[in-house]
């Protein structure tokens, strides 16, 4: 069941991300562990520039709160595991 749910989530991210707008500027975030999950999850609903924009002034707790807000307030379908990896990536690459 968990595997199926995960597959559906990945599919959802891909389906949302794919139609992305031909004109959307490509945002190259810093290379690091978790970047694929950031691109797949965060990039499904918004430009990745929002990460650069909010840097570098959030600490690990601040970035964790942002990821939690995306899930709880905005309904982002991010698995617990991905959420952890995303928060860790953001803190390591765009944190204080």
């Amino acid at each position: 069941m968990r595997a199926i749910a995960f597959a559906v989530i990945v599919a959802a991210a891909a389906l949302v991300a794919l139609p992305a707008l031909a004109d959307e500027p490509t945002i190259q975030l810093k290379t690091g562990p978790g970047l694929d999950k950031v691109e797949g999850n965060c990039g499904a609903c918004h430009s990745l520039v929002y990460i650069q924009m909010n840097s570098p002034f959030l600490n690990a707790a601040g970035w964790n709160a942002e990821v939690t807000k995306m899930i709880k307030a905005f309904g982002a379908p991010i698995s617990d595991g991905d959420a952890k990896d995303i928060a860790a990536y953001l803190a390591a690459n765009y944190g204080t």
């Binding site: 749910a5 959802a12 949302v16 031909a22 499904a44 609903c45 924009m53 905005f74 309904g75």
Partner: protein, 407 residues
């Protein structure tokens, strides 16, 4: 929990995006952007000037959802041209709205009836014009110290236009409000990319909805609204921040209970008692926070950026001042760090909700000169010397203190 249905919904939203009213970027992208000094380093690096359809180059903070601010040099007139006006969206499914089939649904449990208005219906109602500042609640968030999360705006998430439309009170009168109606809620045609994300729906108190200045505007500076500024019609709530100026307005709902949802609480809140605002939104207040309402008195030096070069001797600095609709009565300038102040000359008055131009002549001494500006409104409010820090970075009206180098 994600379901097949929501996956399809999300995919559908994505597809709608691709075929919808998305900005198509011009090929002529200018490199670098004149971002406001003091914004986070990440956005100072990433921001760029970009030309959206029907617009002059704006500072792109983000493409999806689109958030673009006006550069400082677009603020040299009291009226901001449509093609220089900032663009701000919360959510990224932004459909093209067909004016021929466009309708606004009016009703709700606080109304005596319900109806639908077409754009023609709206235009048949008595038309009113008002010059008013539309300022994003988060304008200058990027200058918060410490920085706070959000769209990191500099000075340019604002503009002032001559809006023409029907009074909201006339539209509400078509259905009639029950005595127990307390808020009017409204929605726009834009929506989230993912169906679990809360749609952007807002409300204002009934007293504010029936104020004569509150319009449903279908013209901006004598032309139809630009797509990215809310075509074919948007709400105009003069004096109040942009969060209430719903673009692509599609529904008006009279409520007998306070509107809930993310965009009313916790979003767009200020700490109770922190700011000297008069207009209250009582049905939404709680012990610690209250919705942002009216714009705080503010000013901006627009003729010179911080650090600009001037010639020694006679110079004139110009700018704009505005507030929540009481009206600007004076602008004071100081060239000695705030020890002494002199009155600037006020320019043309387009009404109490408009940008008020001002100018100040001074003699620059060779080397470093400083310029501070402080606006006053009709009820005696002035700008603050120090930031009133709040977690969302709202209501930054700290007096500017810029340096002008004479050589």
């Amino acid at each position: 929990m994600l379901t097949r249905r929501s996956v399809l919904g999300a995919a559908g939203a994505g597809l709608a995006l691709a075929g919808g009213g998305w900005p198509k970027l011009s090929d002529s992208r200018a490199a670098g952007a004149p971002v406001t000094p003091g914004v986070p380093a990440g956005i100072a690096d990433a921001a760029t000037l970009e030309t959206l359809p029907g617009k002059k180059p704006l500072i792109r903070l983000a493409y999806r959802p689109p958030n673009y601010e006006s550069p400082l040099d677009y603020f040299r007139t009291a009226i901001t041209p449509n093609d220089e006006f900032f663009v701000r969206y919360h959510l990224s499914d932004i459909p093209d709205v067909d004016a021929a089939t466009y309708k606004i649904a009016v009703g709700g449990e606080g109304a005596n009836g319900q109806t639908e208005l077409t754009l023609d219906d709206l235009k048949k109602l008595p038309a009113y014009e008002i010059v008013a500042v539309n300022q994003c609640s988060g304008n200058r968030r990027g200058l918060s110290s410490p920085h706070v999360a959000g769209v990191e705006w500099g000075y340019g998430a604002m503009g002032c236009a001559r809006w023409k439309g029907a009074r909201l009170k006339d539209v509400l009168a078509i259905v009639g409000l029950k005595p127990e109606a307390i808020e009017i809620a409204f929605n726009g045609a834009d929506g989230p990319a993912f169906d679990k994300t809360p749609d952007f729906i807002k409300s204002i108190p009934v007293w504010r909805a029936v104020d004569e200045s509150t319009l449903i505007a279908y013209e901006m500076n004598g032309a139809p609204l630009p797509h990215l500024n809310g075509f074919p019609a948007r709400l105009i709530v003069p004096g109040w921040t942009g969060t209430y100026w719903m673009k692509h307005l599609i529904s008006l709902t009279a409520l007998t209970k306070p509107l809930g949802g993310f965009w009313m609480n916790p979003a767009y809140r200020i700490p109770v008692g922190m700011f000297p605002v008069v207009a209250r939104f009582v049905s939404q207040e709680n012990a610690t926070s209250t919705p942002i309402t009216e714009i705080v008195v503010n000013s901006l030096i627009t003729s010179h950026a911080d650090g600009a070069k001037v010639k020694p001797g006679n110079n004139t600095v110009t700018g704009l001042a505005w507030d929540g609709g009481y009206g600007i009565t004076g602008v004071a300038a100081s060239t000695d760090g705030g020890k002494t102040w002199s009155a600037a000359t006020l320019g043309e008055d387009f009404g109490r909700y408009a940008f008020r131009p001002w100018s100040f002549a001074f003699k620059a001494k060779p080397g470093k000169n400083t310029m501070m500006v402080n606006a006053t409104n009709k009820i005696g409010q002035t700008q603050t010397a120090a930031l009133l820090f709040n977690p969302a970075g709202y209501h930054n009206n700290v007096m500017q203190n810029i340096t002008l180098n004479a050589a």
